[in-house]
Symmetry: C2
Subunit: 245 residues, 2 copies
DNA sequence: TATTGAACAACACGTAACGTGCTGATTTAT
DNA sequence: ATAAATCAGCACGTTACGTGTTGTTCAATA
């Protein structure tokens, strides 16, 4: 028989917590002294350990009460449910991490907080990938859509995202230089390299995506590219072709 | 100028929430009607949107107040902190998922809830991997320790964990059969296959681990193996050697 | 056996971010 | 002007306890 203080020391659970478990009927001491002090039996200790185990697994005290009162039957179900929950939360955190990274890079590169960009990123991540791609459906076929979805931003490395943002930022800072200049050619080459690295070297896919981008209104799905950047790249390509002739 | 109801409809935020934000001074309407009804300006709407963005990023309302009041300087810091938090939470969930999977399999395979096993799993996951391996340090060298840590349970597939538990469970159910029998040889062969699949085919490493396991008191680091299982496997190996001669 | 210090029970209030009512006042539509 | 809709302001509820208080009981010592 343990007093509440001993039990607390043995298990590392605070007295207040045991107090609370008693109060809500989760763990009631199996006997008391004449004066009313609580005495916990070995069985009570076992029950406490089970409660702690279930708590570690992420169940609420309410759920723990249910699980411990009902028998084995619901166990698998409870654990599967908990697994589902954990997986959903993991997905949410994945998305959140990417969003935070994007915002961090945007501040780092642009040197200031651009709320428009932050909203774009959040919107981008809040809608599910299916929806985000809907705007491209006139230009891409089903296979291509699928391919893009498979390699969406979730699968890009931090390094890739950072480079992608950097190269586009560089272009934005040089929109008015001569498209035929050495510098312009270099910028577009960097962009092309990164694009191929991230979206594979499927020529047709890149071409179709390009078509789509040119016809879009200010889309955010390929943040942080915008019309200006697209036009600049286009003009550099044209200048290059001219030069060849 | 929006009344609280219009603002609520436009942004999807409940009136009670705006009520609360007013109460804690996070978003105060910039004017009021004669009768005291709140009127929100465009600026107020912008502020609300920023609050929502920051909330999406996982900041508390207290932190949001700080961030919005202090200027740009702390932004990067806040976001980095948030990223840290998100990453730690992801790790926690990873560990939890593995623990839940282990428990799920143990119930599935043993057909009942084995609290000892559940406690073992939780203990195993609660201590960090470094500590868990300390008990092997007399038998393994640094390189080997490192190798095991790199491929610890986190990197095993669900399939692997499931098979590993199944094969050991099979052995536990047949501890007293003749080590020289066909059945025994089969069991140990399955075990060996799975062990090699999971721990690579580094002969020396497997040998050293085996040494360690034999000398350990009931360890839990290679749950659910125990002394009995180890002895059985050993005896089958010996029987095999005998047979060869 | 009396005393004293430690442990205890029971209660109250606080936490974060609102949800869910409630009453009485104000606005809007008719 | 009157009805209907909206609003402000308040209070209590939620989760899993932490922190602090007061009065009581236990255990060890004199």
């Amino acid at each position: 028989m343990y007093t509440i203080g001993k039990l607390s020391k043995n298990t590392g659970v605070t007295v207040r917590t045991l107090d609370y478990y008693d109060e809500i009927g989760l763990i009631k001491p199996s006997s008391k002294t004449e004066g009313g002090h609580r005495l916990y039996s070995e069985d009570d200790v076992m029950r406490l350990e089970r409660v702690l185990a279930l708590k570690y697994m992420g169940f609420s005290l309410e759920q723990i009460k249910d699980i411990l009162e009902n028998s084995t039957s619901t166990w698998q179900e409870s654990i599967q449910q908990q697994l589902e929950l954990v997986k959903r939360e993991q997905e949410r955190l994945q998305v959140l991490e990417q969003a935070l990274l994007g915002i961090s890079y945007s501040i780092e590169i642009e040197g200031e907080i651009n709320w428009k960009i932050i909203f774009s990123i959040i919107q981008l991540y809040q809608q599910d990938p299916e929806d985000a791609l809907q705007q491209y459906k006139d230009y891409l076929n089903d296979d291509e859509m699928k391919k893009i979805m498979d390699m969406n931003v979730q699968n890009m490395s931090e390094e890739d995202i950072r480079n992608w943002m950097k190269v586009i930022h560089d272009i934005k800072n040089n929109l008015n230089i001569n498209p035929a200049s050495e510098k312009a050619q270099q910028l577009v080459e960097s962009w092309l390299n990164q694009a191929e690295k991230m979206y594979g070297n499927d020529e047709k896919l890149l071409g179709d995506m390009w078509q789509a981008l040119q016809n879009l209104k200010e889309g955010i799905a390929f943040y942080p590219m915008n019309k200006d950047v697209i036009q600049f790249i286009e003009s550099v390509f044209i200048a290059k072709e001219e030069f060849k002739k």
